[in-house]
Each structure stands twice: as C-alpha cells, then as structure tokens.
C-alpha cells in the first residue's frame, strides 16, 4: 500500500467515525432555507473543524443538492477544509499593510516553531497554520489571529511567544 492510500484510508476511517447526530439540529433549522448551503457547510465545519465526507453525504440527502455540487462549493471557498484542523487555527495576515511591515518574517518564524507549512497541522493536532489575505487590522500590522483573538504589532519572536504560551496552557490542562 502506498503512503498516500494509507493516508486516504486513515481519513476514511476518521470520517466514518464522526458523530452525525451533531449536525441534526443544524439541518433541521436551516436545511430547507433557500440558498443555505454555505451556512450549512460553515455550521458543519464549526462542529467538526472540517467537512467530513459522510457529513457532506448527509447534507446532500437532506437538502437534495447533489454531492458533486456540494463538493464544488466546498472546494471553491478557502474557508472550507476537507481534512481535520488543529485545535487552534493560526491565521497569519499577508495583507498589503502586513506585507509592507514584513509579515513574511512572522510566517517564517511560525513555520519554524510549528514545524509545518501554510495549511499544515502540527502532529499533536494543536495548531493549523493558515496564511490569509487580510484580517482588517491593518493599522496593527503585522497581525496574526488565533481563534477569535487578534495579536498585533508583532515581531517574529513575539509571534513565537504567543504560540509557546498557548502550548504551555494546553500542557497545564492535560
């Protein structure tokens, strides 16, 4: 078996094991609303951190939208992911203002300390790194956003410190 197909199998197992009852109330409240596909996918992703294949199948069954249409929408928008994400999504802003204030150095430092590249998830499933276009906090450039929390006026070292403090907190929780 090739490493890729091993990976696919692993993902399939993970997908099959998700608890579909979690999206039932979402489907009941929004499933029949016209044009709600994107909100359904957003709701699903906020529950599972990604879009599991069998959840997409259930949405297709429930809404009557074909699975291929759902897949085409899910792959069009950069917000959606088909792989599980880490507990924290670290979004590094690469907007114009951040670019001018050397966001690149922040990204390099974060890639180094997390050991992943853009879009990657750390092995302990704690962090997913995403390079994004603009977070709209340009006057505090360069900025990163972790969950709903924005950190501004960063240097590469400070960005690394933020990650380390979350790691410490998580370690203490365990």
């Amino acid at each position: 078996m090739t490493p890729e197909s091993q990976e696919t199998n692993k993902r399939k197992e993970a997908d099959d094991s998700v608890d579909l009852s979690l999206i039932k109330s979402l489907l009941d409240s929004e499933g029949d609303t016209r044009g709600s596909l994107i909100s359904l996918l957003q709701g699903t992703q906020s529950i599972y951190s990604y879009l599991p294949a069998n959840a997409l199948r259930l949405i297709a069954e429930r809404t009557g939208i074909s699975l291929s249409t759902i897949y085409s929408v899910a792959t069009f928008y950069s917000q959606f992911r088909l792989e599980p994400a880490g507990k924290y999504t670290v979004r590094v802003c690469h907007g114009t203002a951040c670019h001018v204030q050397n966001a690149n150095a922040v990204t390099i430092a974060l890639c180094d300390t997390l050991g992943v590249t853009d879009g990657g998830t750390t092995e302990d499933r704690l962090f997913t790194l995403e390079v994004v276009a603009c977070l709209g906090c340009c006057s505090l450039a360069p900025v990163i956003m972790i969950g709903d929390m924005t950190y501004g006026n960063l240097t590469p070292n400070e960005a690394v410190r933020v990650i380390k403090s979350i790691r410490r907190r998580e370690g203490a929780l365990k």
């Binding site: 596909l37 994107i38 979004r91 203002a97 001018v100 994004v132 276009a133 906090c137 006057s139 505090l140």
Partner: protein
C-alpha cells in the same frame, strides 16, 4: 447617569492591543466599593495607532487616554478616577485640554463615522440618543414617497463607496422601476481589499447606522427582504451586527409595518462569506448568497433587473448605507455642499503602512493625498521619506510622492491610473520596493482569480512569473513590454472587475517607477533593499571588532573569522536573511 464614566475602546483593533484586559481591571475595580463610576464600551474612534484607548468623562468633560497598558491604567485609576486629577501627558483627545493628537481630527469631516467611538454599539438606545432612526421617522411622519427618497439621494450626489462610484440614487431608481414585486436589497460587507478596514470598523462601531440606511433603501426600492454579506474574517462585526438586528426587530424597526408605515415590511439576515475575494464583485456575491460557487456573471442583465434569485436586486456598500440616514436627516443640499463638483460628501480612508498615525480618517472629497497623509496621518513614521501611496487595493495603483497634490475625487484619481477604490491607503517609504509591491498584488489576484476567464486565470499567473523573475534578478528588458501586452489582454479578456483591474498595480508602478524595474533588470540591484536575492552582505574590516556575534547568529554558517580580529561572509553560503546586518553592534555589516 453617574458623574463619572469610564469608556474602553473595544473594536477589533483595541481588543488586539489588549483592551479586554483593561476592561476586566476596571470591572474588578467596581467590585470593591472604593470608587463608583459607570463602565461603558465603545468601538474604534479611528485612532488605531493609539490603541488601547480609555476615556474618562467627569464634570470637566472627557479625556481620552492613548496607548494604555496595565501600568498606565493603574496610574489613571489612582490619579484621575479616584482623585480627579487628569494625567495630561497621556491624553490624546479632550474637551478641555489641547493635545498634539488633535490634528488627527483636524481635517476630518465625520458623516459615515459620526457615531464610531462615541457610542456603545451594543446598545440601540445610544444610537437613538444621537438622533438615530430619526431619518426613518422623518420619512414616516412626512409620509415621503419612495420616489421622493430616491430624489433626495440623487440630489445629494452620493456615489457608491465600495469602489465603483456609481450614483447610489440611480441604482435605487433602476431597481425600483424594474418590473416585479419581489425585490431584494444586499449590503456588500465583503471587504476583501488587503489594506482596507473601513467597513469592519463601521459595523463594529455603529451597526445601526448601516441598518437604518438599509431600511430606508428597502423602502425606496420596494424590497421586503435584505442580506448583509459579511466576510467570515470579521467575527466581531458579525456578532455585533446580528445583535443590532435583533434589537432593531424588538424595537419594531425591522419586521412588519415598520415605523408605522402601513404595508412596509423588511427583514434582514446576515450571510457570512467563506473566503473568496471575488465575492466582492456583485454578481459573484449574489451567487454566493444563493449558496453557489462565487463566480461572476456577464452583465447585462444588471442585478437591478435580474439579481438574487433572478429578481431585481440592489447592492450597496456598508459606507454608502451609513451615509443615507445623515443625508435624509440633514437634506441633500447639506451633503452636496461638501466635496467637488463630481464627487460629493466625504470618504473614509484606512491609513496604514509606514505612516505615523495609522487608523481611520473620514475626509471631505477634494482634499489632497498629501493633506490626508500629513494631517490625520501625521506624516511618515520614523522620519522616513514619503515614496509612494497605494490606493484602491489590488484593483488600484501606486502613486508616487510627486502626485501627492492630487485631489481625492473619483475622476482625478482615475486619471492617474489608480482608483478611489474602497478606501485603503497604504503609505510606503524608501524601504518599500515597487517591483515587489506589484509582485505582491499579482500574487494576490492570481490566487483569488475564480478561474472562469482564461486571461485572468492564466494571464495573471504569467505576469506573476515575470515579476518573480525580475525580483530574483533574472529579468530582461523585453519582460517590461510583455507585462504591458499581457496587462492589456487581461483587461480586455476578463468578465469582471477583479480581472479587468488586476494589471493596475503593475501598470502604475511601470508608469511611475520604471527606473526601479530597470535597476532590477540591468544592474541586478534592488534600490529599496527588499528583494533578498539581489542583496549582497559584506563586512567592513575597518569597523569589525571580531566580536563573533554575527558568526554565532548566522543560520547558514556563512560567516567565519578569528575572534578579536575580523570576520568575512562567504556569499555562496549566505542566505541573505539580514540577521547579521540587524544585530551587529558596530554597524560593520554592509548591504548592497
């Protein structure tokens, strides 16, 4: 109301700078009965550079403190809140004190931002107290017909603030006249331009002004259902907007028979974008609201004839809507008295980049770029030289400092090759490379192209490759002609605004900063020292003391030498990270 009020600025920018912790400190201060005051929340006043901001209002008036950290807050509590003695040095704005920062507000005229930073966005009564929803009541009490409302908006001269600059009243008129009873209204809050955050700040700071503007628009065009399409990257704006919508509904301002106008009903829902820049384009936005892939469609038919669910639809930008209540309440003439002959009213700009006071400034149309940068912006940061300003995001252009006297109006800016755009203004100094800037924007549009049109999908990719080649020192002079040819083809061969304007950043930098391109191509040099592949680092043996600091820091072991003698850099090993240059205590590292 208590005699003493303390307000914390809790916009995204304030929160990012640590306002949440300050609020908690003040909250716990209220718990012990030492001092009594009213603790309140507001959003961004525009002085993002001085966040977090805390305002203390007592019998003398208000004093706004800037750059407040925990230590500073403790001192403010000790002195101003408990003893009543203001700490003048930290005050950035006040009723009774002069502050250097007053010049931030000096040249401004605040219409869209009239309540931002002054009211609690979470409390509808704050908005009502400052004449909120009076425009709507005026329409109801005077029994103004929808046509009369449209006439007022046309007479005001208001043009779309999202970038296109189409006359708002005309757009409303087209939608009103379109046949059919089912019509829709959409607020475009998909503020995707990197470097722009006007709409986020407006929704976070004063959501009801946008909602009131939408209710009036819905009445004018005859829509009973509306959507705010807001990008998901703005969680706080979405939360505050949803809260404001539920408050407005409780107050009978949304729902049925609004403000007592018989038969006028309007409901409003928020749709979250899912991270696609192209959805700022109206036909793509409509596709996305319908739950489909956000790809643009051919116009005509225009949305005013066949938009959402193929019904007549009017789409306006956040700032446009925020202007509406003011125009109705103060009259078209008050609005059209501000600005130039073709561009009326004010425009909100997001000042960012190498500027001293980054933030939001609303200025009357017709003032010059220099007046904004030196007035509210306070000039360049760290005494650097003003080299260029980028207007209008990826669809806009980079203007050189020599065009700083260009007035801010739609026509003057278009004639320079830039655009008014949504209001992003990124200021650049001599350390910003213009070729790298063009590469940055092309990288953006190339990634965000939806792929429908060949020239946009592949053309931007080819342009990006050429720019990467030039930044890497492998460009040739024919590349410049090729860039210009491709630009023209992409402009003509693309369906929507994203593609048609994608070459603008390249065209404007080629027009105004051609010598920088030539320096990269002919001399293999980057004058701004940004393009790393074109840099060489050497050590001045005269200045080097042989301290070995750089050798220890160098990630690629390119620096060798003898301690207390001198060191050298092996350029074949050097990765040009610049660590040695930044860290050498004797400034012995030279960069060229």
């Amino acid at each position: 109301m208590k005699a003493l009020r303390v307000t914390v600025g809790m916009g995204s920018c304030g929160l990012a700078a640590g306002a949440g912790r300050l609020y908690e400190m003040l909250e716990s201060l209220l718990l012990d009965d030492k001092v009594q005051f009213e603790l309140s929340v507001t959003s961004c006043v525009g002085m993002c550079y001085a966040e977090p901001l805390v305002e203390v209002t007592d019998k003398n008036g208000s004093a706004l403190y800037g750059s407040v950290d925990e230590t500073r807050l403790n001192q403010i509590i000790e002195s101003h809140i408990i003893k009543g003695i203001p700490l003048d040095d930290w005050v950035v704005r006040s009723d009774y004190l002069k502050s250097y920062e007053d010049s931030f507000f000096g040249g401004q005229k605040r219409i869209a931002l009239r309540n931002c930073g002054l009211i609690n966005p979470g409390n509808i009564n704050d908005y009502i107290e400052r004449k909120g929803y009076e425009a709507l009541k005026h329409i109801a009490s005077k029994r103004l017909k929808p046509e009369e409302v449209i006439e007022t908006v046309i007479a005001s001269g208001l043009r779309g603030r999202g970038g296109g600059g189409f006359p708002t009243g005309k757009k409303w008129d087209f939608t009103r006249r379109a046949p059919g009873n089912e019509k829709y209204l959409i607020c475009n809050a998909d503020e995707g331009d990197p470097g722009a955050f006007m709409d986020r700040s407006l929704i976070e700071g004063d959501p009801h002004s946008v909602i009131e503007g939408m209710i009036i628009a819905a009445y004018a065009i005859g829509a009973s259902e509306g959507f705010v399409y807001c990008r998901a990257e703005y969680p706080l704006a979405i939360r505050r907007l949803k809260h404001a919508i539920s408050q407005a509904t409780e107050h009978g301002l949304l729902g049925e028979n609004i403000a007592g106008i018989g038969g006028f009903s309007f409901s409003l829902a928020v749709r979250e974008g899912a991270g696609a820049f192209v959805c700022g384009e109206e036909t793509a936005l409509i596709a996305s609201v319908e739950g489909r892939r956000g790809m643009p469609n051919r116009k005509p038919p225009f949305p005013s004839d066949a938009g959402l669910w193929s019904k007549p639809t009017c789409i306006n930008n956040v700032e446009t809507f925020a202007n509406i209540p003011w125009i109705i309440a103060n009259g078209a003439r008050a609005f059209s008295a501000i600005g130039t002959s073709g561009s009326k009213g004010t425009k909100v700009f997001a000042l960012t980049g190498k500027i001293r006071r980054g933030g939001l400034a609303e200025v009357p149309m017709g003032i010059t770029i220099n007046e904004i940068i030196n007035g509210p912006g306070g000039g360049l940061a760290d005494n650097h030289l003003f080299k260029a300003v980028q207007l209008g995001g990826p669809s806009g252009g980079c203007l050189p400092a020599s065009l700083g006297n260009t007035p801010i109006d739609y026509e003057s800016l278009s004639s320079t090759g830039a655009i008014m755009g949504s209001g992003g203004m990124v200021v650049m100094d001599e350390t910003t490379c213009m070729v790298d800037m063009a590469r940055f924007f092309l990288n953006f549009t190339c990634q965000e192209s939806c792929g429908k049109c060949t020239f946009c999908r592949i053309g931007t990719k080819r342009m990006l490759e050429i720019l990467e080649r030039i930044c890497g020192g492998d460009g040739c002079e024919e590349d410049l002609t090729l860039l210009e040819e491709l630009s023209e083809q992409i402009r003509r061969g693309s369906l929507c605004g994203l593609g048609q304007t994608a070459p603008n950043p390249v065209l404007t930098t080629l027009r105004y900063f051609r010598d920088e391109y030539i320096a990269h191509i002919r001399d293999k040099k980057c004058p701004a020292h940004t393009c790393t592949r074109l840099l060489t680092y050497t050590i001045d043996s005269e200045k080097c003391t042989g301290c070995s600091l750089c050798a220890g820091l160098c990630p690629s072991s390119a620096i060798t030498g003898e301690i207390r003698s001198f060191y050298t850099i092996d350029s074949t090993l050097c990765v040009r990270c610049g660590v040695c240059y930044d860290k050498c205590p004797f400034k012995a590292i030279e960069r060229e």
